[in-house]
Symmetry: C2
Subunit: 453 residues, 2 copies
C-alpha cells in the first residue's frame, strides 16, 4: 500500500498551514503586547510540524522568570491568558492539571494557554509543564521527517491507542515523535514494535538500559532524552501496549489503508449476541446508573476502581467472575459476566495446617462451629451471607454512601450508584435489544484478542 | 463417676483368667513337644495382663535362632504352627504381614502364631515381629497398674480410636500401655491428652524430644523405648488423634460411663436428613458399587485413594467439592457433596504475568484462542469439557480399567467401580430412605466436630 495516500488525507493543506501560521502570528503578537514580563512560545504539534489536518489545536506557553513565586505565576499567568483570549474575542474556561491553565476557543482554533517557568536545565524544573518547551526544542532539533510522525499518530488514533489521558492510557504525541526519532520512519517503527514485549526499553544517547529497567516498571519504558528520570511511556497501560503491538503485527501481515481510518464498529445484531451468550452459558449482571457530572479524566479511573471493588466483594462472597468491564455514555454501565452466580448456603473455609502455630487461633475463632480436618488442614463449614449475586448487589446498594466509600466505591460514583438499575436474566436481553451502545460494547468484548505471537 | 464400675465390666473374671491360663499352658506344652528348635512365648495383652474380658485372643511367638535363613524360618515356623493347631483340634488360615503367620481358632480362643528371630538387641532385629518380645518384656517390667491400660483401651474402643490397622488408624494396644507407663494412670493420661496438639512428643528415659521432632512427622510421636528409631504412634492419623483428644476433653468435662460403652449410633430419620440437606442447598452424588473381595486392610486405603483421585479430577474440571467421604458394608459407597456441580461452557484460565518469561509459552499454547489481559496477567477463555458433575462421572466410568488406573483409581476398585450406580438428585432421597447405613453415615458426617479448644 502507498502511505502517501494516507498522508494526503491527514497532512494539513497549504491553506490550513497558512491559516495556522497567521493565527499563531496574531497570538504571539497579542501576547507580547499584553505583557512584557513573559516570553510567549508555541508548543505542541503545530510548532513541531507534526499536527494533523483539521486539528486546529495549539499550546501557547507563557514563560516566566523562575524568581517569581508559584502563586504569582498562576495568578499573573491566568490573567494574561484571559486577556489574550478576550483580545482575540474568544471564549475560555479554566482547566486544571498540576497547575491551572486556560482553555480558549477562538474561531476554529482551540488554544491551551499554559503559564510556566523558563528553566534552562530540564532536570531542574519546578513543575512538569516547565519541561514542555525542552521537548519542543529536542524534537525540532532531532526530528528529520515529521510526516512519519503524522502517520504514526493517525495509526494510533485509528487503533484507539492515541492519548496519554487516563481514559485512553495510550501513546502521547511526544511519545510518537520520540519513536520516529528512534526508528527513523513509520514503517521501521511498526516493524520493530510488532515484536515488542511488555517491559520494552528505549533510550537515547548512551543511557544504560539496565538503569532504566531498575528504575521503571511499565510495559513501555522510553527514557525522556531531556530528563533521564522520566519515562515518557509511563501512561501506556499493558492492554494498550499490546493492542498497539497487535495492530502493528496485523498491519505488517496485511497493510491496508483501513488501519489508519477504522470505521466505527457496527453493533452486533441482538440475535447474534443471544446465540453467543447462550453458548457461553454464563449469567450477566449490568449495573446501570446516571453518569455523574465529571470529566472523563476523573470518571474513567473511578469507574475502573469501582469495577475492581465490586469484583473483589463478589469474589470474597464466593461468587466467580468470568469477566468484568464497563463503559460510559450518558449512562455508566458496569458489566459482570458470572461463572458462578449461585452458591449453596454452606461453604467451606480451609484453615491452617494442623501443625501450624496459627491452628489455635483458628480453633478459637470457630469455637462455636463444627470443625474437622481435611488433608491435614483444619476446615470449617460456614454459612454464606448471600447465595445469589443479585441478593448481594441489592444489599450493597442499600448501604449508606459512607459505607460504600469504605468498601472502595469511589466518591463520585458512590452517590449515583445507589440509584442504579440492575439488569439480570431476561432484563439483560431487553437491555441488549434497546441499547446499540451495549451491542457495540459486546462486539468489542467478544472480539477482543491481544495474542501477539 | 467410679472407674471401678467400668473395670468390673471389662476386666476378665477369675474364671476367664483360669480358662486363659489353662489354655496357655496347653499351648506352650504342645509347642514344646512339637519342636525342640523353637522357644514358644506368649506375647500380646494376655501376657502383659492388659487383656479385656471376653477377648480370648492371644499371640504365640515361636522364637528361632537367628542363624537360620528367613526362608527356613518361614517354612519351619508355619509347619510347626499348623501342627500346633492341628494337635489342639483347631482351624487355621495363613495370613500375611511383613511375613506370613498363622491365624488359628481353637474353641473360643483365637491365636496368632508368629515365627520370629530371638534377637537380644531390639535395635538389631531382622523383621518388625522380632521386636514384639522386647515390647512384652518392657511392659511387664515397667507397667505398675495394668487395669489402667484396660480402661484406656476400652475408652479408645468406644471412641473408635482403638487399633493401628489401616481401617482405624488409631491407637495400638502397645501404645496404650506406653501411655499408662508414662502417665501412671488412666485419669492422668486423659487429663494430659485433652491438651495435646498435633505433633505431640513422648519419650522415655533421657531421649531428646528435639531429635524426635526432627526425625518424625506425625500427630503423635511416641518413641519406642526398645528402639529409638521407631515411632509407636506412627499409625495414628490426624483425625483419630484429634478424635481422641476431643473425647478426652469431653470426658473430663462430663465424666460418664457412656464414654466407655458407646451405643451404636441410631440412623437419623429421613425427614431430618432431608431438612438438613435442603438447608445446606448442596448437591449430592453417591457412587455405589459391589465391595471387592478383599480384606479391610486393603480395601480401606484403596477407597481412600479412590476418593482422593475422583476429588482431584472433579476439582481439575472446575467443580467444587464441599466434602467427600466413603463407607463400606456389602457395598462400597463414595459420597461427594458438591458446592459447585454445574458450570458454564466457558471458563477462564489465568496465565502468567505479562512480564514473566513464561508469557511467551502461554501465548504460543493459546495461539488459536482469544487471549486478553487482566490485572497484568495473560488470560484465556477455554471451553469446559464437562459442565455437570454427572456428565463427568458417567464419562469416567466408561473408561477402560487401564485408563482408570492411570487416573489414580486403585487396582482392586477399578474393575468394580466401572459397574457402579450413580445416585444423584431425587435418587439420593430414595437411597437415603432405603439405606439405614447411609443414614448412620450421614449422622456421623453431620455431627462430626473435632474442635478441641
Amino acid at each position: 500500500m502507498d502511505l502517501n495516500l494516507v498522508l494526503k488525507r491527514i497532512k494539513p493543506s497549504e491553506e490550513e498551514e497558512k491559516e495556522m501560521k497567521d493565527f499563531i502570528e496574531k497570538l504571539i503578537e497579542t501576547s507580547k503586547k499584553l505583557s512584557k514580563e513573559i516570553k510567549p512560545i508555541i508548543c505542541g504539534s503545530v510548532e513541531k510540524n507534526t499536527w494533523l489536518a483539521k486539528r486546529y489545536e495549539l499550546d501557547l506557553f507563557l514563560l516566566f522568570n523562575p524568581n517569581i513565586s508559584k502563586k504569582q505565576l498562576e495568578e499573573k499567568g491566568l490573567k494574561i491568558a484571559k486577556n489574550i483570549i478576550k483580545k482575540l474575542k474568544g471564549k475560555y474556561q479554566i482547566a486544571f492539571a498540576e497547575h491551572p491553565y486556560l482553555k480558549g476557543w477562538v474561531g476554529k482554533f482551540q488554544i491551551d494557554i499554559v503559564p510556566c517557568y523558563d528553566i534552562k536545565n530540564p532536570e531542574k524544573i519546578k513543575s512538569a509543564v516547565d519541561r514542555t518547551p525542552h521537548h519542543v526544542r529536542f524534537v525540532k532539533k532531532n526530528l528529520k521527517n515529521p510526516d512519519e510522525v503524522r502517520l504514526l499518530k493517525q495509526f494510533c488514533i485509528a487503533n484507539k491507542c492515541y492519548g496519554a489521558d487516563v481514559k485512553t492510557l495510550g501513546f502521547s504525541g511526544y511519545l510518537c515523535e520520540l519513536l520516529i526519532i528512534k526508528y527513523g520512519s513509520f514503517m521501521n517503527c511498526i516493524k520493530n514494535a510488532s515484536k515488542w514485549r511488555a517491559g520494552h526499553i528505549i533510550t537515547f544517547g548512551n543511557l544504560s538500559k539496565e538503569d532504566a529497567k531498575r528504575k521503571f516498571k511499565s510495559p513501555l519504558i522510553v527514557i525522556d532524552p531531556v530528563d533521564k528520570n522520566r519515562n515518557v511511556g509511563a501512561a501506556v497501560s499493558v492492554e494498550k501496549f499490546y493492542k498497539f503491538v497487535r495492530a502493528c503485527k496485523d498491519f505488517i501481515k496485511n497493510p491496508k489503508e483501513e488501519f489508519f481510518f477504522k470505521k466505527l464498529l457496527k453493533p452486533y445484531p441482538t440475535t447474534k449476541i443471544l446465540k453467543i451468550i447462550k453458548r457461553r452459558d454464563t449469567r450477566w449482571y449490568l449495573i446501570v446508573f446516571k453518569r455523574p457530572k465529571i470529566i472523563d479524566d476523573v470518571l474513567y479511573p473511578q469507574m475502573k476502581r469501582c469495577c475492581k471493588a465490586i469484583k473483589k466483594m463478589l469474589t470474597q462472597n464466593d461468587f466467580k467472575i468470568l469477566r468484568s468491564d464497563f463503559y460510559c455514555n450518558k449512562k455508566c454501565v458496569l458489566v459482570f459476566e458470572m461463572e458462578i452466580w449461585k452458591i449453596p448456603k454452606i461453604s467451606k473455609k480451609i484453615g491452617p495446617d494442623v501443625y501450624s502455630k496459627h491452628a489455635e487461633e483458628f480453633l478459637k475463632h470457630y469455637k462455636k462451629e463444627k470443625v474437622f480436618i481435611e488433608d491435614e488442614n483444619w476446615v470449617v463449614e460456614v454459612e454464606s451471607k448471600f447465595t445469589e449475586v443479585l441478593e448481594f448487589l441489592k444489599d450493597l446498594f442499600k448501604k449508606s454512601k459512607n459505607s460504600l466509600l469504605e468498601k472502595g466505591i469511589p466518591n463520585k460514583i458512590a452517590p449515583v450508584i445507589k440509584n442504579c438499575k440492575i439488569f439480570h436474566g431476561e432484563n439483560v436481553i431487553k437491555f441488549i435489544e434497546k441499547s446499540p451502545d451495549f451491542r457495540v460494547f459486546l462486539r468489542e468484548y467478544f472480539e477482543k484478542d491481544l495474542n501477539v505471537v
